[in-house]
Symmetry: C2
């Protein structure tokens, strides 16, 4: 979202801030049905905009994806310190809690995350930045600071834990898990 300057200059044919509208529509669709099942025509329809305009603002579909969902809204350092704040024998819980908090915010972060996760399974372009960011920037940093011998393995296990949560809750939508509050999940996660 390097967009929405929100500059409503004098009335022009068509609507102002077309770019922002396209972004929002794209994010919605990407997070709902995943990268490859989204067509530019569908995005245009959703945004109530002409398909050719998408190519005008974004050079290609992958470019659109990159600009709308791929720049993570996460501050890695912030996340790391959040996770490390609690007692050290409950790292797993803390990680899940931090992610649930970060992605349930009102910023559209959850849409971005589900879009990434959905597409990561099919698109290699998405896989690399995603898994690298999570296991290196975030969990690698955490595990390293903890100074455990197998810190790499532990970091990636934590990634797998969080990914499994997100997958089950936001994509597969396992019923009980979706209905449960963050509190409850963190609670039950101990054993």
């Amino acid at each position: 979202m390097t967009d929405s300057p929100a500059r409503p200059r004098g009335r022009r044919p068509g609507r102002a801030d077309t770019r922002g509208t396209i972004c929002r529509a794209a994010l919605t669709l990407f997070s709902t049905i995943g990268y490859d099942k989204v067509s530019l025509r569908a995005i245009a329809r959703e945004a109530d905009v002409d398909p050719a305009l998408i190519h005008h603002y974004f050079s290609s579909k992958s470019d659109l994806f990159a600009q709308t969902v791929l720049d993570l809204p996460l501050d890695a350092d912030r996340l790391v310190s959040d996770v490390l704040a609690g007692p050290r024998d409950q790292i797993g819980q803390a990680a899940v809690a931090a992610f649930l908090a970060a992605y349930d915010g009102p910023d559209g972060g959850r849409e971005r995350f589900t879009a990434m996760l959905r597409s990561a399974v099919a698109e290699e372009v998405v896989q690399r930045p995603m898994s690298e960011f999570m296991s290196k920037e975030v969990f690698g940093a955490i595990a390293e600071r903890l100074g455990h011998v197998n810190f790499k393995l532990r970091g990636q296990l934590a990634v797998s834990l969080v990914l499994g949560m997100a997958l089950s809750r936001y994509i597969l939508r396992l019923p009980t898990l979706t209905a449960a509050s963050d509190q409850m999940i963190i609670e039950e996660l101990r054993p």
Copy 2:
């Protein structure tokens, strides 16, 4: 795999057991790149078979998918008792261990599982049977027998744990996690 009767009857034009060949090729591709990115033409190429033959043996692409990967090779009851065999405070580890064992077998089970998981994120047809099977038949049964108040939630959390593992290890292929042995993973999973 309801196929391969392996009956080489008298020489005929073309190859015998075309159906089985198609099945294997399809499974390979489905598990490698996922349902929607696989074209029937690609399967035909991989199997060194004419595209039209696929429609001859399987009525449609979804039918082919169903017959090659969707019938789970898992015996739910078996899995449940495996998980329940160990001490009750290490259920999570036991579940992961059971799945790793079941799917690392020589039966092509892992290909089936990755194919399902890959496609589950995009195809709703795959999502329902998969999540139902896992959270009801397997983990629901386990949690219910344990008689915990939140057994449903726990069951689905266990699902999420296993899915996260599979996703990270077999699809995203997080390096350290992929390289690690099953033993090590189960070991480190305790905390």
